[in-house]
């Protein structure tokens, strides 16, 4: 966790040339694009890896984008991965609505402005990075808290030993604190 991971982006389209175009668009961003040609493959990738954002073609043979999105949204671990629908279908509002209903954060109709897509993706990648950082910080905070609690317990124990008095109370307390400090 020390070195930040590269954000992975899942590109889903049944046409290789579209995938090539998408990868060309994303070139230069600090991301690792993972291109697959079907919803099933996308799900497989999602089972074994985390992704910062998913670019999902709505219209695919077999499992289409909406169904893929529905699966992704059903799973707790992948629910929050932002999905951007890319569709060549047409400007049918209903399909756009379906896309949004399926949990897409965006619904982009092809052909689209590559720079817009680039910008959108980079926003999500940045968000993802922030989330990663937050996770690391949260882990650190948790560790510090645990350490705090442990030390507090040790101090409490030492205090109770001191309050109890008796021979060697001080030594015992010192020993407890020393052991806690190690």
């Amino acid at each position: 966790m020390s070195s930040p991971r590269t954000a992975k982006i899942l590109l889903v389209d049944d046409r290789m040339e579209n995938l090539v175009a998408l990868e060309a668009i994303l070139q230069g961003l600090p991301v690792e694009p993972v291109a697959v040609t079907s919803g099933e493959e996308a799900l497989k990738k999602l089972l074994v890896g985390d992704f910062a954002v998913i670019l999902l073609d709505a219209q695919m043979p077999g499992m289409d984008g909406f169904e893929t999105a529905a699966h992704i949204k059903q799973r707790e671990r992948t629910r929050h991965v932002p999905i951007i629908f890319l569709t060549a279908v047409d400007r049918d509002a209903h399909l756009a609505f379906r896309g949004y209903a399926a949990g897409a954060v965006d619904y982009i109709t092809k052909p689209f402005d590559p720079w817009v897509l680039r910008a959108k993706v980079s926003v999500f990648v940045e968000l993802w990075g922030r989330k990663e950082q937050l996770g690391v910080q949260a882990a650190t905070v948790r560790a510090v808290q645990a350490e705090n609690a442990r030390l507090r317990d040790a101090i409490e124990e030492a205090r109770s030993v001191l309050r109890g008095g008796g021979d060697g109370g001080v030594e015992k307390a010192v020993e407890l604190l020393t052991r806690a400090g190690e």
Partner: protein, 1483 residues
Amino acid sequence: MTTVKAPQVRRDENEEVLTVLAEALARVESGDFSVRIPRGHGLGGEVIDRFNSVVAKQDTQVRELTRMSRVVGREGQMTERFAEEHLDGGFREAAQAVNSLIDDIVRPTAEISRVIAAVAEGDLSQRVSLQIDESRPLKGEFLELARTVNKMVELLRGFAVEVTRVAREVGTEGKLGGQAAVPGVSGTWNDLTVSVNLMASNLTDQVRNISQVATAVAKGDLSQKITVLAQGEIAELAGTINSLTDTLRVFANEVTRVAQEVGTEGKLGGQAAVPGVAGTWKDLTVSVNSMASNLTDQVRNIAQVATAVATGDLSQKITVVAQGEILELKNTVNTMVDQLSAFADEVTRVAREVGTDGKLGGQAKVTGVSGTWRDLTENVNQLASNLTDQVRNIAQVTTAVAKGDLSQKITVDAQGEIAELKNTVNRMVDQLSSFGDEVTRVAREVGTEGKLGGQAHVRGVSGIWKDLTDNVNLMASNLTAQVRNIAQVATAVAKGDLTQQITVNAQGEIAQLKNTVNKMVDQLSAFAAEVTRVAREVGTEGKLGGQAQLRRAAGTWRDLTDNVNLMASNLTNQVRNIADVATAVAKGDLSQKITVDAQGEILELKSTVNRMVDQLSSFADEVTRVAREVGTDGKLGGQAHVHGVSGIWKDLTDNVNSMASNLTDQVRNIAQVTTAVAEGDLSQKITVNAQGEIAQLKNTVNRMVSQLSSFGDEVTRVAREVGVEGKLGGQAQVEDVSGIWKDLTDNVNQLARTLTNQLRAVAEVSTAVTRGDMTQRITVDAQGEVAELTGNINQMIEALLDTTVKNAETDWMNSNLARVSELLQGQRDIGEVCRMIMTEVTPLVDAQVGAFFLMTSGKNQPKRLVLTSSYGYVGPDTDLVFAPGESLVGQAATSRRAIRLKDAPSDYLVVRSGLGRARPADVVVLPVLFEGEPLGVIEFGSLNAFSALHLNFLDRLVNTIGIALNTILANRRTEELLTASQKLAQDFRDQSEKLQRANEELQEKAQLLTEQNQNIELKNREIDMARLGLEDKARQLTQASQYKSEFLANISHELRTPLNSLLLLARLLAENAERNLSAKQIEFARTIHNAGSDLLVLIDDILDLSKIEAGRMAVDPRPLAVDEIAGYVEQAFRPQAEEKGLEFSVERAPGVPDTVVSDAQRLQQILRNLVSNAVKFTDTGKVSLTIAPAPAGMIFGAPSLDTAETVYGFIVSDTGIGVPDEKLALIFEAFQQADGTTSRKYGGTGLGLSISKSLARLLGGLIMVESQPGKGSTFTLFVPDVLTADKIQVTDELGTVQPVQIAPNRSRPILRQAGNKQERRATPSAQVLENARVLIVDDDVRNVFALTSALELHGMTVLYADNGADGIGLLTEHGDIDIVLMDSMMPDMDGNETTREIRRIPEFADLPVVFLTAKATPGDRDGSLKAGASAYITKPVDLDELLDLMAYWVEGGDNALAPAVHNDEVLEGEIVDGNVRDGRESR
């Protein structure tokens, strides 16, 4: 320019010209090229012109050469060349030669200068090329120059290399002595080389010298000095090194001195004095001095301490600070001092303790000493220990003596006074010992061994010891006397003589003993007497309960007495108990048992008695039972069963049984006989043998039976005679009977008599009746049944009488009815019938007057009752006619009931005969009915009352008459009808002929019609065929249209998809991010992009159109804010319009509400189209959108608009090119624009308006257009205020509304959804599975994904593999997987195979593998279980079930609690088979 004077004279013109020419030539010859000859005429002029031209050219050439020489030669512009272009011939050659010269000169020069320039820049690798071109080698001086330059460069290079090498070797690598060897140099180069070599050798020398000195210094030889000649810095260096050497030498001397003084000579306090040093040398000196002073201090301190020790002062210690060996020395000295001190302390302590304090055993403990000190300590210790031993030995012996142990002697070696002390003590001990032995012997002999009379003999004792011995002897003799006396008494006692007493005098304890023995003897005596008494009493005299009374007995005696008493009392108890029981038995009480505890023989006795009692009891019970059964309950045949008895008891039992059986037999026999008697069988007799009373009983019974039998015979005889044979008057003669039998016989006889009387009376009456005399009645007295019989017979006779009368009446009635009916039969004339009835019936019923009124009826006449016939009636002159309801006659007809008039008044009716007249007493009026209809009324009058018989007869007769009348009437009607019908038949025949004729005509027409029909049918069929064809065509058309739309939709999509990447890539190219494309290429890319975009727009439009046509465009009506629509248009088009310099406005007229209900997207699409068209086709002026309500009363011709409450218009007007009227309709067609050229100018697909029109229809509206070419157009979109769902039906030609296709879920869901939400539940299973690691092996990723999300929700970690091999890989990679969920059907390696593989790995032999599959046949299941599956669950999986199952296996399978599986299908095999995993191997 000089001008030659023009020839003046024309005369000699040529000559003059020649002259001038010659002059000019002369000047030219002398190199003056400035000469010019003025122009002349003619040939001369021409010559002059040529001359001038030649000279001018020459001049130019010269100037050019001059310039070249200046520019090239002096100014060094080597690129300058002679202009050759406009020169020809020699001039050109000359120019080329010059240029070539320049080239030839310049090129080597340039080459050389390049090389030199390179050399100047330090590049010595360049060489002058010896060829100008490939074929032209340098020659002459150029070659030499080039070679020289090359040689120079070569030399320079060699020199540079050498110098560099030397410098590197000497300077950098330190290889001194190197010399530069540059061969073939001379002059300055030689000097230079020599200098360099000199420098190198000088440097080498100096450095070598310095190094030599430094090495010497390093080796400690400070005598060396640098002697080499040096100058400058090297000289300084040499000086420094030499001075350093000097300083070092001085320093070394000083240090040596100090070391020698301090170390060797012991002169402490010496200090090194090194003058003029600084830095390290100073520090070094100070260190040496400090060392010296430290050493001095330490040595002095040690010396001081050593001195103190030597003088016995052990308190001193070395205190000086020291380190290293000195510190060790210091510690050693200090330790020594400490040890000495400790030794002294110890010795002092031991001496003080042993010597002064007397604490023996003390030892000096000095640790860590050795040598002399050790010896010293040991000596001291030995002394102390010797002393201690002697003193202790003496003390020990004396203590032993004091304690009486005289065996001890002082054994320790001692000398001197101690030895004397030792001997004295030992002697004393010996004497004491001898005395002790004697006394002991006596005591032993007397006390222990019983040898009384022994005396102690101790010799050589005196004083107290002698007294002591005497005392002992006295004591021994006294004791002997006493003991002997006691022994004597005891012996007597032992022999049973209890009379002896101890008489010896004794005192003290012996006296006590004497008394005791005596008392004992007394007690023994008393005890014996008592026991004897008791034994005698109990044993001999039988006085039980006796107790030995021994007072003051104690101890054994008491116990003994108690025992005897106990024995006595036990015996007493037992005997008494036995006696009790025996008594009870004797008294017949068998319930008693011996309960007393007993042992031995008494126990046996007890058991025997008890057993006896038991047997008796059992016997008694049995006998009682038998007696009760046989005697009381009457159960005969009972037998007593007493087991285990014998002897008399057995005999007794047998007797009882025999008695019972005898009794039984007799009683049974008697019972049999009495039963037979009771049943009437008197033939039986008691045959059993009996005696005594039974025999008497038997006889009595037998007698009774025989008397009964005789009685029975007599009675039977009487009964037979009287009852059967009819011999009345018989009497029973029973002899020898009396009492009841006699009474009985009398009774029987009386009965026979009475019966006889009665029967005879009955017979009499019966005979009378048979004779027809019914007057007789039975009068005999009778009672009971006979009385009933008498009554019955009498009643029967009465009934017979009645029946006879009734029969006669019925006969009469029936016969008369029959007669009248017969008379009526065949009658046709009603009048005759009436008359006949009157004449026949009236006398029959004893009537004297009769009248028959017949109901007449005619057409249009009221019904009337007319007197048709009468009997004995004198009627009035007028006809008697009554209307129905009129008079009693009418009434009778109306009410259809007979009316009877009794006691009619006197003047009512008169019966008249020729002689007299009388008034009838009874009148009856009867209606004649047929089926309820009155046909007539008959009235009869009689002087007497009508009998019931007559009335009844009349009633029935009336019916008959009714039938007869009706028949007659019907007959008459039939006849009439027959006549009518005959007439009609004739008419029919006539008509029929006419009809037949008409029919023939009709048939002909029908023929025609049929033909026509057939034609029509043919036509119809053709039409049908045509219609079917049309329908088929229409269907095909529809299909084609649908195909077209689908094709369009598909092709659009297919076209668009590749376009996307094309556009994207074109755009990326056009952006030229990598800046490697030319402007043209960018332009191309942009063109591709634009063309693609246009294509895309076109495809979009086609798609829209096709969707509308295919009916796939759905609308979604919802409230829209009008302002938003206006805002949208404003936002979208204002920039475009302003860009074109057009005025643009969007207005909302008053009266337009804030919201309308419509589909926003479609509305916007239409407006976008209209407004963009307006902007597109307008070059100047303005474009505006106005939203306003439609004018009231406007008729649109579209129902959705005409029925709408309000219609709003979106008016888009422009000042553009307009559309001619004739094209207005055309522009809405697809791919049409008003002018074919328009598209070329304005672009566009021509689909926009077509789509807009369709969309408008979809929205329930329409688009109207007004236009004037050149002035502008106004397109108005009218939409209803509310777009309702029923208006959005797509009404295109196809008429098919297809819903938007939603991709169906193709695969079976893996999870059975209990609800849509999968909630995390806190079940026990869920807790078990928390943090479990699950591997899912399944190729259906959809299912896996759903399953994974569900499992992850329960805190599990899920690993995934989409095939078996990967699954196994993951398993081995992650060893900590808790459970595997396996799909059974996978490509390549299926679930079974994978599982088998897993099981082959030893560490996964027990890993739970749960199969998930859609296949649920038992065969599959068995296959999977055989392959090693732990459990099996079918898809779709119930999550709860799966979790329970998984928890079960994760917890350890069989060891854990079995899961509550509801789906029996799932675990059937597993649960039933119990241990699945074990089952796996066995399967």
